[in-house]
């Protein structure tokens, strides 16, 4: 092993460059006094004494080549090679010699012979045996400002120059070599120390110079390459200009990924040139899938080559881009096929009885899911200490013996990951496969419940763990720098969209028997700083489940990543389990959310989503990356096997994805059947009722004018021949028509509903009271007896206030309908009446052509906009009411009044129809006695806002409607209809509004 690569190399040199070497050496040596065998000296070990050389030379009949070969063959049997340099010049002066060798740093990996070419004319500044250095003019040093502009599309600077020890340039590496040598120098992966083997005494440009390069890996080579490091980037002269591409093509690589790739390709080239091959590699596993190690390498190189092509072709690409984009989309049929393999075994899964603490009855397929998840989580528990097997992505290499012994050999082996180009001196043991997976059941199958069951079923044994002491969390081979100081926690972290926060909590509490599960929410103001400490405690203080949002994770990650180490908040803990709900949120691997989630530390990692692949295969990558499902969580690996083949319309990509998915995905659809051939879920038949509504005359007017307007614009586009290029605007026109059908506010009064919905419309009671008191003395302008009026106003307000703090009972009665004013308005004169009554009256006045006025005191004119709404909220007493509570402890509830500017809110035909339906189902019960739940959908969130206001104003009285609102709030984001409880039929009217009714 010790010298086997070397003789081979030397022989290679001699065979290939036999003519030059003999010629040149003879030429140089003959004028001097040296005997001819001296020509042999540069070809053999420098310490070889003259006599040996002379003997050798004679033995081979003055044949230089044969002599050299003979020498090296004999050397194989004499391993005790003494450290030195091939340097005739310094040979005589030992002090210089040591200096030269001492300056060499790094780990020796071998020598290569390179034929460079001379860049100078005239007498050679070097002789054979001279040590030379490689000089790399870094790209960012060269260009002047002007050059940078012009050189944007020009070829990358890969020039590597030879310089003498005095710093004089005399030659260059050939481009095929300098291509990767330059990268190695740039990335400071490798140090090169050259020795001139052969060189003409008088050089002309382009003359061959034969150089031996000794390669030493720098310590940096084995460090974690951090391509996101800004300093490093600027050092490499990377201009951020190219960062715009990923926005359009997410399959493209980021800057950092490109750098990683360049580094990787360079290292691979070096190893190839050195003839080093791995002594151990576990690629065989993946090779089974793809056949042959060569294929793996080829694919990597292909992908690299293709990228280069793309880079060089530059702007011309853009036309083809849209077509390419289409191909990248995955059709539904394809998707189904992808899941097929993963689904094949599903119906045969064992069922596992639900844990006792669950208060719900699991369906049989949910029990199957539980057993599957248990198996995934407990995988490799026993075989955790198998240090023997190498990580599937890493290859083991042996350091060749350094003939010069310049560096103390500390390590005998090094490890390289051919997919990332990462190198390490430490053994990379096979990481046990990811504990967790993708739960991708179709919506409505109860993923939340399944997750709940696993939370219950596989709980940390708290007492046991605390006795055993700290468990060392598994290290991640891809983040060697990751500190293992994170403390293990028995908590399950659930990350979900904000809108689902409450639902997860409620579902978990509802689904568990009392006091068996401690659920906490980590979000916004409820973030508790002491929580982090509690998370790490194993004595039961930590919550079993901690629910947080993507936003929270992101913000913690952002603040943490500034300090460069993820050590605070959620990131200081190694969770028992982390679950990502609606995980397609992280489908873009470049998004910060995606990165933040992947950075979470946990032993068990689950992904819950109904759509693991939304449009592109790459969507899946982010999930796989989060799961740390080796080897696929490595992007270059993924890119080489999936993205690139897929872009090339290679069907194999699908096979690969299937292979990736099979072990980690559990997906069932509603149409699947269990072992007995029954449908997994039996739903009552769906009933779709479409109700056609007529516009009111006003709505018709608005619609007509908008329609005419749209028509004109469309005709204009057509006439100008720009219909196709303006299709977005045309869609917008159509959308506006659809919106106006929902409610004119959506398109007409842009400002008004903002005011309706915003809190800024609210007026503080105290403020108003104060204003009134202040103006009492000043106000003399308005009609009859302003003083009295203001006194009255103050009285009204004070009465409201006293009701608010609970001193006075009883509601004020509307003067018009004689009912207690639930949704009352205050007129400017402070008279109060029902909102509806006042509006009716004002409408009537308007119809009669009269100005609006207060129905009670005739103070006017007033309009809808002058009205102040009194919004009464009953609420439980809280701390601020504690004082009042003490005096009137009988009262349990207090009433708050909020005043809000009225806005002339009007419903639309659709809203009216919706209200009618909701009122109909109000109070009705299903056969099981549960109240009916209704879910309202709309494509327009703005319309949902309007619906919310409407529902609140017109039917919100009992808790049923409040429930509707709560559900609506949570579910409105998920317009794709997550709601699919047990027994409901659906009615869908032309509003895109779904009413859920339960049939008897």
């Amino acid at each position: 092993m010790t010298t086997s690569p070397e003789p081979k190399k030397r022989r290679f040199f001699l065979e290939s460059s036999e003519v030059e070497s003999t010629d040149s050496s003879m030429d140089i040596e003959s004028p001097g006094a040296s005997p001819t065998w001296e020509a042999l000296r540069p070809l053999v070990l420098p310490e070889t004494d003259d006599q040996t050389l002379a003997d050798l030379y004679q033995k081979c009949n003055d044949n230089l080549e044969a002599a050299a070969n003979l020498f090296w063959e004999s050397q194989v049997t004499e391993p005790e090679v003494k450290a030195n340099v091939i340097d005739i010049k310094h040979y005589s002066s030992p002090s210089n010699d040591e200096e030269a060798t001492a300056s060499r740093s790094g780990s020796y990996v071998g020598d290569i012979m390179i034929i460079g070419w001379s860049s100078i004319k005239g007498k050679s500044p070097i002789e054979e045996g001279d040590s030379i250095a490689l000089d790399r003019v870094r790209p960012n040093m060269v260009p002047t400002k002007k050059a940078r502009f012009t050189s944007k599309n020009s070829k990358e600077n890969i020039v590597v120059r030879f310089i003498t020890s005095k710093g004089v340039e005399f030659g260059r590496l050939p481009s095929d070599v300098s291509k990767w040598v330059s990268k190695l120098l740039d990335f400071e992966v490798c140090n090169f120390y050259g020795t001139v083997i052969s060189c003409n005494p008088v050089l002309s440009t382009g003359d061959d110079i034969i150089v031996q390069l000794s390669c030493y890996f720098t310590p940096k080579a084995f460090a974690c390459f951090d391509a996101s490091n800004q300093a490093q980037l600027s050092m490499l002269g990377i201009h951020r200009s190219s960062s715009k591409t990923p926005i359009f093509d997410k399959g493209a690589e980021t800057d950092s990924e490109r750098l990683m790739k360049e580094r990787k390709v360079a290292i691979l080239s070096l190893l190839k040139a050195l003839g080093l091959s791995s002594i151990r590699s576990s690629l065989s596993k993946t090779n089974e899938i793809l056949g042959g190690e060569e294929t793996v390498r080829e694919l990597i190189n292909q992908s690299a080559a293709q990228d280069d092509q793309q880079h060089s072709s530059g702007t011309n690409d853009e036309e083809g881009e849209s077509a390419e984009e289409e191909v990248k989309e995955v059709s539904d049929n394809r998707l189904d096929a992808l899941y097929e393999k993963a689904q094949m075994m599903d119906s045969n899964l064992d069922e596992m009885e639900a844990p006792e603490d669950i208060a719900l009855n699991l369906r049989s397929y949910q029990k199957q899911a539980l057993s599957w998840m248990m198996r995934k989580e407990n995988m490799h528990n026993s075989s955790n200490n198998n240090t023997g097997s190498l990580h599937p992505l890493w290859e083991e290499y042996q350091f060749p013996t350094d003939p010069w012994k310049t560096t103390s050999i500390v390590h005998e082996k090094f490890y390289m990951n051919p997919f990332t180009g990462e190198m390490s001196l430490e053994f990379k043991s096979a990481e046990s496969a990811c504990r967790g997976g993708i739960l991708a059941d179709e919506m409505g199958l109860g993923k939340t419940i399944e997750m709940l069951s696993i939370v219950h079923a596989n709980r940390p044994a708290i007492s046991k763990e605390s006795i055993l002491g700290k468990r060392s969390p598994p290290r991640n081979p891809f983040h060697p720098s990751e500190k293992s100081s994170k403390l293990p926690s028995p908590t399950t972290l659930i990350v979900c969209p904000m809108s689902l926060l409450g639902q997860w909590r409620d579902e978990f509490l509802r689904g568990s028997k009392e006091n068996t599960l401690k659920v906490e929410v980590y979000y916004g103001t409820s973030r508790d700083s002491s929580l982090v400490n509690r998370l790490q405690s194993w004595n039961g203080a930590a919550p079993d489940v901690l629910i947080t949002t993507y936003g929270t994770v992101l913000s913690e990650w952002m603040s943490d990543s500034n300090t460069k180490d993820l050590q605070s908040g959620l990131y200081s803990v190694d969770f028992w389990r982390v679950i990502l709900d609606e995980a397609h949120h992280i489908k873009n691997r470049l998004s910060k959310t995606s990165k933040a989630c992947s950075a979470l530390s946990a032993i068990r990692r689950w992904v819950v989503t109904g759509t693991p692949i939304q449009n592109k295969l790459d969507d899946l990558y982010a999930l796989v990356h989060f799961l740390k499902h080796e080897p696929w969580s490595n992007y270059s690996f993924w890119r080489a096997f999936i993205t690139i083949p897929f872009q090339n319309k290679d069907v194999r990509a699908y096979d690969v994805v299937q292979t990736v998915l099979e072990p980690i995905v559990l997906r069932r659809t509603k149409t699947m059947r269990d072992a007995q051939g029954n449908l997994l879920v039996t739903l009552p038949s769906k009933q779709i009722d479409i109700e056609y509504l007529d516009f009111t005359p006003e709505e018709q007017d608005i619609y007509n004018s908008l329609y005419t307007d749209s028509k004109t614009k469309f005709s204009y586009f057509c006439a100008a021949g720009k219909a196709l290029s303006n299709y977005a605007s045309i869609f917008q026109l159509l959308m506006r028509l659809r919106q106006v059908s929902c409610h004119p506010y959506l398109v007409v009064k842009d400002g008004i509903d903002k005011e309706v919905l915003s809190a800024s419309g609210s007026v503080s009671l105290e403020e108003l009271l104060e204003k009134f008191q202040n103006s009492t003395s000043l106000d003399a302008k308005s009609g009859a007896s302003p003083g009295d009026q203001n006194t009255y106003g103050i009285n009204v307000l004070q009465r409201l206030k006293s009701q608010q703090i609970g001193e006075e009972e009883g509601d004020s009665e509307c003067a018009i309908c004689f009912e207690s004013a639930e949704s009352a308005v205050l007129m400017p004169c402070m008279h109060m009446a029902c909102r509806a009554c006042v509006l009716d009256f004002l409408q009537k006045r308007e119809d009669d052509g009269l100005p609006g006025e207060c129905p009670i005191c005739r103070h006017g004119p007033i309009s809808e906009a002058n009205l102040l709404e009194v919004i009464k909220k009953r609420r439980k007493s809280n701390i601020s009411d504690a004082v009042e509570m003490a005096t009137s402890d009988k009262k349990k509830e207090t009433v708050t009044f909020n005043l809000r500017r009225s806005d002339g809110f009007k419903t639309s035909s659709k809203l009216d129809a919706l209200l009618r339906h909701l009122r109909q189902t109000l109070g009705e019960k299903t056969s099981t006695g549960e109240p009916i739940k209704s879910v309202v959908f709309s494509q327009f969130t703005k319309f949902l806002d309007l619906i919310e206001v409407t529902v609140k104003r017109f039917i919100m009285r009992s808790t049923v409607e409040e429930k509707i609102l709560a559900i609506q709030e949570r579910k409105s984001v998920l317009a794709n209809g997550l709601y699919s409880g047990k027994d409901e039929k659906r009615t869908l009217d032309d509003l895109h509004i779904l009413f859920g009714d339960k049939p008897v």
Binding site: A815, I816, C817, F818, E819, A833, C837, D840, F841, K844, L850, E853, P855, I856, R858
Partner: protein, 149 residues
């Protein structure tokens, strides 16, 4: 047609606490139709008389004013031969905040204070303006004649 809550409440209150000198009773077959009796106010030419009126609450009450008409003949510048009443709150000055009770009180007040400047029965108004004393006597006669059985 169900009766609005307001009408029910008003009726209840009218019966529970009637205004002095006024009574209003709904018809059993039509709760929107009231038989009203107003006693002639003291110190007026109608003193001692008992006047029958009919009051009808239209469909859009209380947005529209009630319809009120004297059934008993009365000599008054603001009330015509058919018993129709000229009173602003029964027309353009109506407000939904007004009630049957307030309307009837207004009518009662109108009896106390005839307003010949805004006449409905022109001849009576003329009479009132030219010779108020004689007009008041005629009113007394009429009250005795028609409103005292």
């Amino acid at each position: 047609m169900s009766l609005p809550k307001r009408i029910i409440k008003e009726t209840e209150r009218l019966i529970a606490e009637p205004a002095p000198g006024i009574s209003a009773t709904p018809h059993e077959d039509n709760l929107r139709y009231f038989d009203v009796i107003i006693a002639g106010p003291g110190q007026s030419p109608f003193e001692g008389g008992v006047f029958k009126l009919e009051l009808f609450l239209p469909e859009d009450y209380p947005m529209a004013p009630p319809k009120v008409r004297f059934l008993t003949k009365i000599y008054h510048p603001n009330i015509d031969k058919l018993g129709r009443i000229c009173l602003d709150i029964l027309k353009d000055k109506w407000s939904p905040a007004l009630q049957i009770r307030t309307v009837l009180l207004s009518v009662q007040a109108l009896l106390s204070a005839p307003n010949p400047d805004d006449p409905l029965a022109n001849d009576v108004a003329q009479h009132w303006k030219e010779d108020e004393k004689d007009a008041i006597n005629t009113a007394r006669d009429w009250t005795r004649l028609y409103a005292q059985n």
